[in-house]
């Protein structure tokens, strides 16, 4: 039996909110977190625009690459939050 595929609809706000959550967890100033989240969400919008479907891994890699340039700590949290236990 094949593995069941789960699909999600991409939203700008969803990406922004998840980055913001990581920024808050790191106790970064809220305004700075907001700016980072908005910038990365916009870049992701542009990247995803010409694609019909992307995998979760591709999306995560792109977001992490963008975050890496602005805030390596948020990038680390974003990449590793599901690898803690």
């Amino acid at each position: 039996m094949g593995k069941k595929r789960i699909t999600y609809e991409y939203t700008h706000d969803g990406i922004k909110e998840s980055i913001l959550r990581h920024a808050k967890a790191l106790r970064l100033p809220e305004g700075w977190g907001e700016q980072v989240a908005e910038r990365v969400a916009k870049a992701t919008d542009k990247w995803i625009d010409d694609k019909d479907i992307v995998t979760e891994d591709d999306l995560q890699n792109f977001i992490c690459k963008e975050l890496e340039e602005i805030s390596p700590d948020i990038a680390f949290a974003y990449r590793n939050h599901d690898k803690i236990i």
Binding site: L26, N80, H81, I84, I85
Partner: protein
């Protein structure tokens, strides 16, 4: 066996159990998810409840073990049980060294994926102190296959000391020590990513420390209990 030796064994067992990573990993997860959603004060209370949950289950398991040994294992056979326990401790040492952490950059543990996803989901959804307390209990209890031998050793020692409840409490507090240290680090201004980076960078050290700890405990029992 003297009181002093029993207490020393309990402390050693506590230190080894404290070096296991599920409880600490659960707390890191709880901090990470709670700090993104709640006020700092609420996160502090959740972390405190989580730690008390881990203390409570360690205390309860040690006391239950002592009760079971006293009532259901004949005194004449306790030495044989200790020999079985030594075998289990050596097996745990191998497990720690070879398979405790999954390969890869993170600190993923030996647990089935579905279980670690469940704990992660619970940590993300934890909103009140009771949930945090039970998550702490669950995290401490989930390592039972590895901690069984430790509980047996501690329970046996509790039967030989003058104040078993105090000794059990001491053991439970030692088990919770890494979580208390993490809490103090966060309180002093360090962020949770620094703690997780430390865990990743020192994964090998933790493995060797715990693995050799199990061997030392086994040798300790051979020297002072069996021979």
């Amino acid at each position: 066996m003297s009181d002093l030796l029993s207490i020393a064994t309990i402390i050693l067992a506590g230190i080894i159990q404290a070096s296991l990573q599920l409880g600490l990993g659960g707390l890191v997860l709880l901090y990470h998810s709670s700090m993104g959603r709640h006020q700092r004060r609420k996160t502090r209370y959740l972390a405190k409840s989580y730690i008390w949950g881990a203390v409570a289950i360690s205390f309860a398991m040690a006391c239950t073990g002592a009760f079971l040994i006293q009532n259901y294992i004949d005194k004449a056979y306790r030495q044989e049980w200790m020999v079985v326990c030594i075998g289990m401790l050596i097996a745990c040492a191998f497990v720690m060294l070879l398979g405790y952490f999954r390969d890869g950059r993170g600190t993923e543990l030996w647990l089935p994926k579905s279980f670690s996803r469940f704990v992660t989901r619970r940590a993300k959804a934890t909103n009140d102190n009771v949930e945090a307390f039970s998550l702490g209990m669950l995290s401490a209890f989930a390592e039972f296959p590895i901690t069984l031998a430790i509980y047996f050793v501690v329970a046996n020692c509790l039967l030989n000391v003058q104040f078993p409840l105090l000794a059990a409490l001491l053991y439970a507090l030692i088990v919770a020590m890494p979580m208390v240290v993490l809490k103090l680090c966060i309180k002093s201004g360090k962020n949770i990513i620094a703690a997780q980076k430390w865990r990743i960078n020192n994964k090998r050290f933790v493995k060797i420390f715990s693995g050799s700890g199990f061997v030392v405990l086994a040798l300790f029992i051979v020297a002072f209990w069996v021979m």
